[in-house]
Amino acid sequence: MGTDRASARAVVFTPLDPHSRAETVVRRLTDAITFGLLTDAEQLPSEAELAAQFGVSRVTVREALVALRHRDLLETRRGRGGGSFVRAPADTVLLARLGELSLPNLQDTADHYVAIAGAAARLAAQRATPDDIERVEEETRDRGWPVHRVERAFHLEVAAVAQSARLAREEVRFATELGTLLWSPVLHSDDTGDPHAEHRAITAAIAEGDDDLARRLTEEHIETAVERLINLHLTLVEP
C-alpha cells in the first residue's frame, strides 16, 4: 500500500515538460487548420494573445509557431499589417495528418473520453430536474451547426446537468483535443446517420432517470464514432 501510494505521488509531481506544451499548441492549431476551423489567409491572434489564451509562455507560443511554419501551415509577414496567417492545406494534408496519428494513443484518448462522457450521462440521469432536461433537449434541436459543434454543446450540457464541474472541464478539454478529429466532416456523411437522433435517445434516458441506459447509449454513441475514425485511419496507413 505504502509503496503504491508513494509511486502514485511521484507521478503526480513529475515535472511538466515545457516541450510537450509547445507540442500541444502545435497539435491544436494543426487540427484547427487541417479541419477548417481556421480558414485560409486568416490572421492568428498576436503571440501575446495566444500565450494568454493557451495559458502558456510567449516562448512556448513562438516555438509552436516556428513548427507550424515548417509544416507550411502558417505564413509570417513582417512589417505593417504583418503577423501569422493560416495556409489552409488541401484535403490530402488532412488525411495525412490522420494517417500520422498513433493508433494506440488515439484508442487510449478515446477510452478516456468514453469514460468521462458515460459517467456524465449516468449522473445526469440521477440528478436532472425538469428544467435541466429542457436545457439538454434544446441541444438536440437542429440548428444547422457542424457536427463537432453539436457534439461539444450536447455533451457539455449533459456534464453540467451531472452537477460536476470536473466532468464539464474534461468535456471542454476533449472537445478541443479529440472533438475536431472524432466529429470531422470527413467522417460524417449521410449514411452515418443523424447525430441528433442519438442525442435524443440519450436525452430520453436521462429524462426517464434511467442512468444505466443513459450511460450505455452515450458510450455506444462515442464508440461508433471512434470506430469510424479508426477505420479511416487504417485505410490511410495501408500501402
Binding site: 440528478r127 457539455l156 451531472a162 452537477q163 464539464a168 472541464r169 472537445a175
Partner: protein, 244 residues
C-alpha cells in the same frame, strides 16, 4: 398530512437559515451597488460598451471573501455591442476579466440570453439566485450566481451580479451545519442540495420533495408528513431542510 403546522419554538435549522440569509443578502447588496452605479451611467443617455470600463475599480473592489466573480452585463448599447465588465477571482494576484465569445457563429459562443442568471431577472424584473450550477461560461466551477436586473427608464437593460463558489459557501456554513444537531440540507427551489451534513444529502444531489416550492412561495416554515421541516431563508429561493 403534509400541511403546515405552527411551531412555538424555533425549529432546529432556523439559525442556519438565518446565517444563509445574511450571507445571501450581503452578496445581493454588492450586486445592488453595482446596479446603481451602472444605471447612473445611463443618466445622460445610452453609453457605449467601452464606457463601462469606468466601473472597473468598483467591480474589482467587490471581489473578495466569498465573492469570486462580480460585474455587470448589459443588453446592446449605443455601439450595438453588449457592455461587459465582469471580473473573477477573489485573490488580488489572480484577477481576470471575463471574456465572452459573443459571436453566434463560433463554437464557443455564449448565448447570454439563455443563461438563467440573465434570463430570469429579465423575465421577472426581480433579483434571482441561479444554481447551484456548473458555470462552464465563467470560472468552470460549481457556483451560485446572485443577479439583479438593471432598469433604465422602465426597461430591462442587463444585469449586475456576484458569484459565490458552492465549495466556499459550504466551508463558511460548516459550523452552522454542525450546530443543527440533526440531518440537515440547504437546498434551492428545485430541491438541489447546496450543502448538507450527511452523505445522503450531498452537494449536487436532489431532494425530490414538492413541498419545498410551496413553502418558499409562502415564505413560511412547514412540517412535512415524515416530520421533516422546510425552513425558508427569508424571501430567497433557498430553504433549510431538517429531518428528525
Amino acid at each position: 398530512m403534509g400541511q403546515a403546522t405552527t411551531r412555538t419554538a424555533a425549529p432546529a435549522g432556523a439559525a442556519l437559515a438565518g446565517h444563509v440569509t445574511t450571507l445571501a443578502e450581503q452578496t445581493f447588496t454588492v450586486a445592488d451597488q453595482l446596479r446603481r452605479l451602472t444605471e447612473d451611467l445611463f443618466a445622460g443617455g445610452v453609453p457605449h460598451s467601452a464606457d463601462l470600463a469606468v466601473l472597473r475599480p468598483q467591480v474589482v473592489a467587490a471581489l473578495g471573501g466569498l465573492i469570486t466573480g462580480a460585474g455587470v452585463i448589459t443588453t446592446p448599447l449605443a455601439d450595438d455591442r453588449s457592455g461587459l465588465e465582469w471580473w473573477m477571482d477573489s485573490r488580488p494576484e489572480g484577477r481576470t476579466r471575463l471574456e465572452l465569445d459573443l459571436d453566434p457563429a463560433s463554437d464557443t459562443f455564449v448565448d447570454v440570453s439563455r443563461q438563467a442568471w440573465f434570463a430570469v431577472p429579465r423575465t421577472t424584473g426581480r433579483r434571482h439566485v441561479t444554481g447551484p450550477y456548473v458555470d462552464y461560461v465563467c470560472a468552470e466551477q460549481y457556483t451560485l450566481t446572485f443577479t439583479v436586473p438593471l432598469t433604465v427608464r422602465g426597461a430591462f437593460a442587463g444585469i449586475a451580479g456576484a458569484d459565490v463558489f458552492v465549495g466556499d459557501l459550504e466551508r463558511a456554513l460548516r459550523p452552522a451545519l454542525r450546530a443543527v444537531g440533526a440531518s440537515v440540507a440547504l437546498v434551492n427551489t428545485q430541491g438541489r442540495v447546496i450543502a448538507g451534513n450527511t452523505a445522503h444529502h450531498i452537494t449536487g444531489s436532489l431532494v425530490r420533495e414538492p413541498h419545498i416550492r410551496a413553502a418558499l412561495q409562502e415564505a413560511t416554515t412547514q412540517t412535512l408528513a415524515d416530520g421533516a421541516s422546510v425552513i425558508p431563508c427569508g424571501t430567497l429561493p433557498l430553504a433549510v431542510l431538517t429531518w428528525p
